[in-house]
């Protein structure tokens, strides 16, 4: 199986211009597990993810990968260990699926190196894992939203990293495609031991699919742990300011949150 990489944030502070979003945050990503980060809009979930993958320099504190600061690692070396799928990546006009997936090989290629058999194999494996082989020669702009998201995940897979960070991989997808994408990520984690960290919007889907749930509020980790420990009525109130009822999910045995709202008070 894979080497277990330790990704941690220590006393991390992040912000844009004069606005501080994250302050003094501590987080250790569980190696070989699926972690979901949840929180209210603009609480800094995506900011945190961007910083963990070197896209945003911290104001204070540091992000460590196996004890080394990610912002000081050589860019390509980091990109061979840690992959990120941003929220809205851009596909160049007319590019084919297999060319796009091939772009994921970038960190493995030098300036002068030629395309290798290993590159083709990685692309093929990524296509197979995401069930996109039959789309390989199609243009990305012709695909449906769900197909396109699988192709982007394939690109991240072709990067062959042990850690994969995803920023809201299910946004703008219909519910069946959301489940499809999350199933795919679970497969990845189970069969390859890839550490998956994703920002998710939907609390219930997050609780269903992750091993480790992190709730962010007030620029800090409010609660972290197994979904059944974190997804409680108290946490929902503290993080989202919402009254809710948490019951046992009849299909998975995990927690399931039902929002209450003003018009449906429990008698």
């Amino acid at each position: 199986m894979t080497t277990e990489h330790q990704l941690t944030a220590e006393n991390l502070s992040l912000g844009y211009k004069d606005r501080t979003v994250i302050e003094g945050l501590e987080l250790a990503v569980a190696p070989g597990r699926v972690t979901a980060i949840v929180g209210a809009n603009a609480c800094g979930k995506s900011t945190l993810l961007r910083s963990m993958s070197r896209l945003l320099s911290p104001r204070a504190g540091q992000v460590l990968l196996d004890g080394k600061e990610v912002h000081k690692l050589p860019a390509k070396e980091l990109a061979r260990t840690l992959g990120l799928l941003p929220q809205s990546p851009l596909a160049p006009e007319g590019i084919t699926v297999s060319d796009l997936v091939g772009r994921g090989r970038h960190p493995h290629q030098g300036v002068f190196s030629r395309w290798s058999v290993a590159d083709d194999t990685a692309v093929a494996a990524a296509l197979e894992a995401t069930h996109t082989v039959e789309l390989a020669d199609r243009a990305v702009d012709e695909l449906s939203g769900g197909q396109r998201q699988r192709v982007w995940i394939a690109m991240a897979l072709a990067q062959e990293t042990d850690l994969l960070l995803l920023d809201e991989p299910t946004t703008f997808l219909d519910v069946q495609h959301q489940v499809e994408v999350l199933d795919l990520l679970t497969d990845l984690n189970r069969s390859r031991g890839t550490t998956v960290v994703m920002v998710l919007h939907d609390l219930n889907l997050a609780a269903r699919y992750c091993d480790h749930l992190v709730a962010i509020a007030g620029g800090k980790v409010h609660a972290a742990g197994r979904p059944c420990e974190v997804l409680t009525e108290d946490t929902v109130r503290a993080v989202f300011g919402l009254d809710s009822k948490v019951i046992i999910d009849p299909t998975s045995g995990g927690p399931l949150m039902l929002p209450i709202g003003r018009h449906h008070m429990v008698a």
Partner: protein
């Protein structure tokens, strides 16, 4: 580096299919490049042989090899040869500069002639030549400084929590209007100005080319083109968006700075030699993309398309009409409808260009 063992496990059939697809697309690209090279060679030969007087290939070859041929030594050696060489070099420079900007900003409209960089270089060169009476490399220094200055200015003005290509293009259009008014003013102060000379700074022309200009552009290309090509793989990854590129191990800011400096340098030197050949930087990239297909670096195909366009347009401008038109007028008249077509197509498709 350890990689998950089973990630290597793809069925041989899939691997073969992936390889086949890639080879097929590469073959198309190679064929296109091959055809472009052949066409450029043919056009160079035609431009050297054909004109008011026709010289057979033998004579042209002798002149190139340095032998003396009655009449041809002057006409071919002094007039046609530098002109043809500059056509190829300037065309390639404009093509490279244009496609670099278009790729980097992910928008075909973001070419240096639309966002004011060529206009800025042109304004500086016009000021240097007409107002300050400079010539030679001093003009080039002016042009490249202004080109970089305008590029920086447009970038900074467009910067608000990151750069949006749309905002950058609109701001570039505004800056281009200012630069154009400088050119107009300088030309109007020149008093009894020669229309040809004026057109050189307004639309671009190859008339009266001398060897010094050609050599300056050649040296620029020898220095900058290899650097640009070193960055070409990073540039193609940059098309996926800054975040994705960064996650794939590209140093986004460094790559951008490097290629912008190269592209502006190429554009500015070519502009100081020929004036801003209208729409050339804009046209080469999209045409190359159509021919070579998407998915790979467009640098080489665009350079070739640019060179071929200048050769064709210059030849047509000289001999196809009753009067001699400078090359920029021909590319302008051809390029303008294409620009409009591109906008129509983009608007129809609903959204990003």
């Amino acid at each position: 580096m350890s990689t998950p063992a089973d990630l290597r496990q793809a069925s041989p059939a899939t691997v073969a299919a992936v390889t086949r697809g890639r080879t097929r697309r590469n073959r198309r690209r190679r064929i296109v490049i091959g055809i472009l090279v052949v066409l450029i060679g043919a056009m160079v030969a035609v431009s050297l042989m054909v004109g008011r007087t026709f010289y057979p290939p033998g004579d042209v070859l002798k002149v190139i090899l340095g032998q003396d041929v009655q009449g041809a030594t002057f006409t071919v050696g002094r007039l046609r040869l530098p002109r043809t060489c500059l056509a190829v070099l300037a065309g390639a420079s404009f093509g490279l500069g244009g496609v670099t900007f278009q790729t980097m900003l992910r928008n075909p409209l973001a070419s240096p002639d639309i966002i004011g960089i060529s206009t800025g270089a042109s304004a500086a060169a016009a000021v240097a030549i007409i107002t300050l009476g400079l010539s030679g490399s001093a003009v080039s220094v002016f042009a490249i400084t202004a080109g970089l200055g305008v590029a920086l200015m447009v970038y900074l003005l467009a910067y608000q929590d990151g750069v949006s290509g749309i905002r950058l293009i609109l701001i570039g259009i505004g800056i281009a209007a200012m630069m154009n008014s400088i050119v107009s003013y300088v030309l109007s102060t020149a008093g009894q100005w020669d229309l040809q000379e004026a057109l050189r700074w307004l639309t671009g022309s190859l008339n009266g080319v001398r060897w010094e200009e050609t050599v300056t552009v050649l040296i620029t290309m020898i220095v900058l083109v290899p650097v640009l090509f070193l960055g070409s793989r990073d540039l193609t990854v940059l098309q996926l968006g800054d975040d994705t590129a960064s996650a794939l191990g590209v140093r986004v800011d460094r790559t951008r700075l490097l290629v912008v400096v190269c592209a502006v340098g190429l554009i500015a030197f070519a502009t100081s030699a020929t004036g801003p050949i209208a729409f050339l930087a804009f046209l080469a990239g999209p045409i190359a993309a159509r021919l070579a297909g998407p998915g790979h670096s467009l640098l080489l195909p665009s350079a070739l398309v640019g060179a071929l366009l200048v050769l064709l347009a210059d030849f047509a401008g000289q001999y196809a009409f009753g009067t001699r038109f400078p090359v920029g007028v021909v590319t302008g008249v051809l390029g303008a409808p294409y620009l409009i077509y591109l906008i129509v197509r983009a608007n129809r498709a609903g959204g990003s260009l």
